[in-house]
Symmetry: C2
Subunit: 235 residues, 2 copies
DNA sequence: TAGACATTAATTGTCGACACAACATGAAGG
DNA sequence: CCTTCATGTTGTGTCGACAATTAATGTCTA
């Protein structure tokens, strides 16, 4: 409930520098622009964002706490690379928590919320038909995150947000190169309909199956890539 | 402060300094020695542990990520003080996750694990009968944490560990002053028996009721206390 | 006495410097 | 050709210093 990140206007905007770094990396990972294993040197980041390493470090420590990056002693931080077993556990945990979140959302949804969710689903569908792969992924993530926002239990919602991120990392790692293999047309629509109809059990079950399907579409082939940090994180 | 002659500290012993601080505060919060609202000034901590503020800061950022402490801009970090609503959400989340963890544990428990768990339950029972309140709390927490350790899904277990901590903070805040009001004699034993018998559904249900009972024993009276950091954290 | 206000102390925010460890490179030897 | 070792480079670990901000203190007035 107390989700407000309301930051006062204090020190110029340096107050937000840490959050800028945190959000930029988070966003880049979500958008699958920073593949698992990507290196994140403190000095490079401090130059990109124009602050000292102290600020970068703080953002990195937070990201490490979220299991988004891995910080090992005396080594460069890297984007997390969950193994097959951990990936399975992440999916299972997300199924268990998201189904409950959706069960709770099924009741508490106002009119404005409904139209927003329905709009997201429509937009995603359109993006898919037009082949806008990037947009579709973004809208899909937005769909799940907004549902979390509307959950009355924001503690559960916070846990779900973290798991959505970790799931994204796993998908980025193990998805088949083919573009939108991990998308099933009516899933989000079906979940939404069940939520609107107030059928919480059906909605929860559909969410479970939705995630099941996504997990089954993954393969376990490994691969890594190098990226240009500045071009991705700069904005 | 007078410890400044420690020139010969090698880097890898200092490496654990951060973990020492993190664990010490974590432990002190769990043991309810650091009441919610306690202030944690960086300089004070750095003097207590004989390191610079950089190391302290890192530990504090991690703790803030775990929702154990609250760090607001330009203000002293304080131990979290969840309000009534957040407390209810924490309990609900924990019920939902711990029941699943216990459901999973019910199958995968080797002989050594069983004896250890049973030993913990017995020791807790003894501590209760002898009025060793501190020991009982410690053993009770140990019981829940060890169950998490034995869960095959360690992602879920990690989430549960965080919720156990947050629950402890809430209990420290809202428990009635009377000593062991939040203890029901046979609860842990019953859960253990169900787990050993392989009855995962029963075990999960008992865990839920166990937490329900604990939550209902809380009152919402507010209070705060000042403590001497050095005497608690020093070891 | 109670409240408003100016002043002082305490605390966090940020930075740059230096020491140490890990990594990359290349030479020497088998 | 491959392995091994020395060496330089890169990057992190920690610290202390200074600036900016908040909290605390004391003073004055009604």
């Amino acid at each position: 409930m107390v989700q407000s990140l309301a930051q006062g206007r204090s020190t110029h905007s340096a107050a937000r520098a840490e959050d800028r770094i945190y959000d930029a990396i988070r966003h880049a990972v979500l958008a699958q622009q920073l593949p698992p294993g990507s290196r994140l040197p403190e000095l490079t980041l401090s130059e990109i964002f124009g602050v000292s390493r102290s600020v970068v470090r703080r953002a990195l420590v937070r990201l490490a706490g979220d299991h988004i990056i891995l910080m090992r002693r005396n080594q460069i931080a890297v984007v997390a690379r969950p193994g097959p077993e951990e990936t399975a556990q992440i999916f299972e945990a997300r199924r268990h928590i998201e189904s409950e979140v959706i069960r709770q959302v099924a009741g508490h949804l106002g009119e404005t919320a409904r139209t927003e969710i329905a709009g997201l689903v429509d937009a995603e569908h359109t993006a898919h038909r037009e082949g806008a792969h990037e947009d579709r992924i973004h809208l899909s993530l937005r769909f799940h995150e907004r549902l979390a926002d509307f959950c009355p239990n924001q503690v559960l919602a916070g846990i779900l947000r973290e798991l959505i991120l970790r799931t994204s990392i796993a998908v980025a790692l193990y998805k088949v190169p083919g573009i939108s293999a991990c998308y099933r047309e009516g899933d989000h629509r079906g979940i939404t309909d069940a939520i609107f109809a107030g059928d919480s059990e059906l909605a929860a079950r559909l969410a479970r199956e939705h995630l099941d399907h996504l997990e089954q579409r993954l393969t376990l082939a490994e691969r890594d890539g190098q990226v240009d940090l500045a071009s991705i994180l700069r904005r």
